[in-house]
């Protein structure tokens, strides 16, 4: 049995009164859960907004061509709001961290990099920050 599958008592990790005791691996797990909750919540919201396509599909070709259908108008109204653009940057941060830490978890499950799992968590955080900062101009273009 590998060290990775060894049982242990980690106590109640959700007790944030213990946060000073948390190791890098515990923070990675908490961040992965938090970003996962945000992403699954967003998935339901995303499908709800895109469902305006069901109304838009019956619009006449001229309305679609002019972008005056419900789908296009809903998206462009939302994208016209600065708050939505800022929230999208937050969504990008959440998604990029979940992807990078997810790759880290897949590798650890395959037995790769377990001994460096704290450093790979810090690398995920730094890379997430770099990608998000580099993406801000594209995400907020035309909104302010």
């Amino acid at each position: 049995m590998s060290r990775a599958s060894k049982g242990y008592d980690r106590g109640v990790i959700e007790d944030f009164g213990r946060w000073r005791e948390f190791s890098a691996g515990m923070w990675a797990w908490i961040f992965h859960k938090f970003t996962g909750w945000v992403l699954v919540g967003y998935l339901f919201t995303h499908i709800a907004v895109l469902s305006t396509a069901l109304t838009a599909q019956s619009a006449d070709p001229a309305t679609l061509q002019a972008g005056e259908d419900t789908f296009t108008q809903t998206i462009q109204t939302l994208e016209g709001q600065a708050l939505v653009r800022v929230l999208e940057v937050g969504l990008l941060a959440v998604a990029v961290f979940h992807i990078l830490n997810g790759i880290r978890l897949l590798l650890i499950d395959l037995g790769v990099g377990l001994e460096a799992q704290d450093r790979s968590f810090y690398a995920s955080l730094i890379l997430t920050g770099a990608i998000v900062i580099a993406s801000v101009p594209t995400f907020v273009e035309g909104a302010f």
């Binding site: 599958s5 242990y8 980690r10 859960k33 999208e88 992807i99 997810g102 650890i108 377990l114 273009e141």
Partner: protein, 123 residues
């Protein structure tokens, strides 16, 4: 410290499916963000533009698989996180079925809108 933290019991079906869907989602979620924020600006998304993308069968199938795997991965993650935090007994059964129904509704609605977009290119 080389401890591995996870909400999943290693080696189970739920754990394995979470990893398989993760490997797919890592690629497709990155592609989705890149295509709809960098190649096409999100503010410029229109019904006709989306319909043209969905008219490509490869894109349509990828998006439907994206919907199904993301729903499974997200809901399975939530369910296992709750079990990991002590959910058990009747509450566990109730949460399980609420999540199953919510997932089914989300997938049905997602496929309906994907079909609406796919058929939305004027002849």
């Amino acid at each position: 410290m080389a401890e591995h933290y996870s909400s999943f019991a290693r080696g189970g079906t739920s754990w394995l499916l979470q990893r398989i869907t993760a490997a797919f989602l890592v690629v497709v979620l990155a592609f989705h963000f890149f295509l709809l924020h960098f190649v096409n600006h999100a503010a410029d998304v229109t019904f006709l533009g989306s319909a043209n993308r969905m008219a490509e069968w490869g894109y349509f199938v990828t998006m439907v698989l994206f919907l199904v795997t993301a729903t499974f991965h997200g809901v399975n993650g939530v369910y296992n996180a709750l079990i990991n935090q002590g959910l058990s007994g009747r509450g566990k059964q109730v949460v399980k079925w609420v999540l199953v129904v919510a997932s089914a509704l989300l997938i049905v609605q997602g496929v309906r809108l994907a079909l609406a977009l796919q058929g939305g290119v004027p002849a």
